[in-house]
Symmetry: C2
Subunit: 225 residues, 2 copies
């Protein structure tokens, strides 16, 4: 009698990868850029989305799926500015695709330029989960320290952009913007660094210009495909 | 032929619980208080330990096991002040007991008043892992926002103390200390709240007095046992 090993784990992973790829491609064909926003708790993901929606003031069609372990506080903050659905993981430390898909059903059919997925505040686990995004953005606040890219490498290695938030607090904390960006680029040489202050609004224009560029690139690839 | 379900998962968990309980009891008998420090990335766990070691200035025997995904930067910071061993998880989002046990071997035989275990920066996953501590302390910095106890309930529910750090930044951020403590006490009514500024030193005396009280309580229970 031979021992058979059934690789259930890898089949499940392959299914998840396929589902994410199909969803991503569907969004590409509809011309919607999907952005997965990741950070430590309190780095300013929700503030960045508030600032983004205020900056555009209706000039772009956006919606947000916002993930938290508990409470709908982030959705309450965002509701005045944008269509939003709160995803509550009930304990889980990151979002996974099936919850995102339920969020999309709750959001209903919308023609969008941008779909933002605000992940659970966690600089580790969400890095390992594909949520069908075209663009992964890690938000790092200056109050967390410039050593974070080196200490949490996977998050920075898998992101295309690094938003450095809370620039308004830079005079009061020991944070070297160049050192943080250099460490991030040792891990991910192509990462785009965008310093902002969501509270004061500095840099939000550059962030939104970057999003527009990425949307343009997606739509070009769309016509090419 | 009957189907047997082998509950490997729960046996492994029971073994881990037993190992943690035995280790905890061994430390109690030797009069060493084990403190598990948890927080988001950059909330100030390492700064709190630096401030603690400086405050005691050799008057207490302490050592630190410091967990990170990558780098030994935190151990380098602590080495001038205290015996320290860096635990590197190589990607894992929290510490587990076997790695702590290897850290203890690396630390060597020391007579200690306090053994601090600085967990990986993560406000979610470390809450689920018993590292044989007598005291679990969550560090929340004011720059993270006062909504964190409600949004990350397990971390606060399983902690005996809440250190609110970076008080020196309170004038520059929207953070209501009372609101954060009230939300934490809805989840864990007995949580001890200790506001500090590790950079300026405020509150470090109260924190160290609290640790001494807890050590006294452990040693009383030790004599009683």
């Amino acid at each position: 009698m031979t021992v058979r090993t059934v690789p259930i784990g890898s089949e499940v992973l392959a299914d998840a990868r396929r589902a994410a790829a199909e969803l991503r491609d569907g969004f590409r064909r509809r011309g919607t850029l999907v952005v997965n926003l990741l950070s430590s708790p309190g780095a300013g993901k929700t503030s960045l989305l508030e600032a983004t929606a205020r900056y555009w003031n209706g000039a772009r069609r956006m919606a947000v799926l916002v993930g938290d372990i508990a409470t709908d506080r982030d959705a309450q903050r965002l509701a005045p500015w944008t269509p939003v659905v709160q995803l509550t993981t009930g304990g889980a430390c990151h979002l996974e695709l099936p919850l995102v898909q339920r969020g999309l059903e709750a959001l209903g059919p919308l023609e969008l330029d941008f779909l933002f997925i605000e992940n659970v505040g966690n600089l580790v686990c969400p890095a390992s989960h594909d949520l069908a995004e075209h663009l992964r953005v890690v938000v790092l606040s200056v109050t967390e320290g410039d050593d974070k890219p080196a200490k949490y490498p996977k998050m920075f290695r898998t992101s295309q952009a690094l938003v450095i938030n809370k620039l308004d607090l830079l005079p009061y904390v020991p944070f070297d913007v160049n050192a943080a960006v250099e460490d991030a680029r040792k891990i991910q040489p192509d990462i785009k660094a965008i310093p902002v202050s969501c509270r004061e609004g500095n840099g939000v224009d550059a962030w939104c210009a970057f999003l527009d560029e990425e949307l343009g690139r997606l739509r070009t690839s769309c016509h090419a495909g």
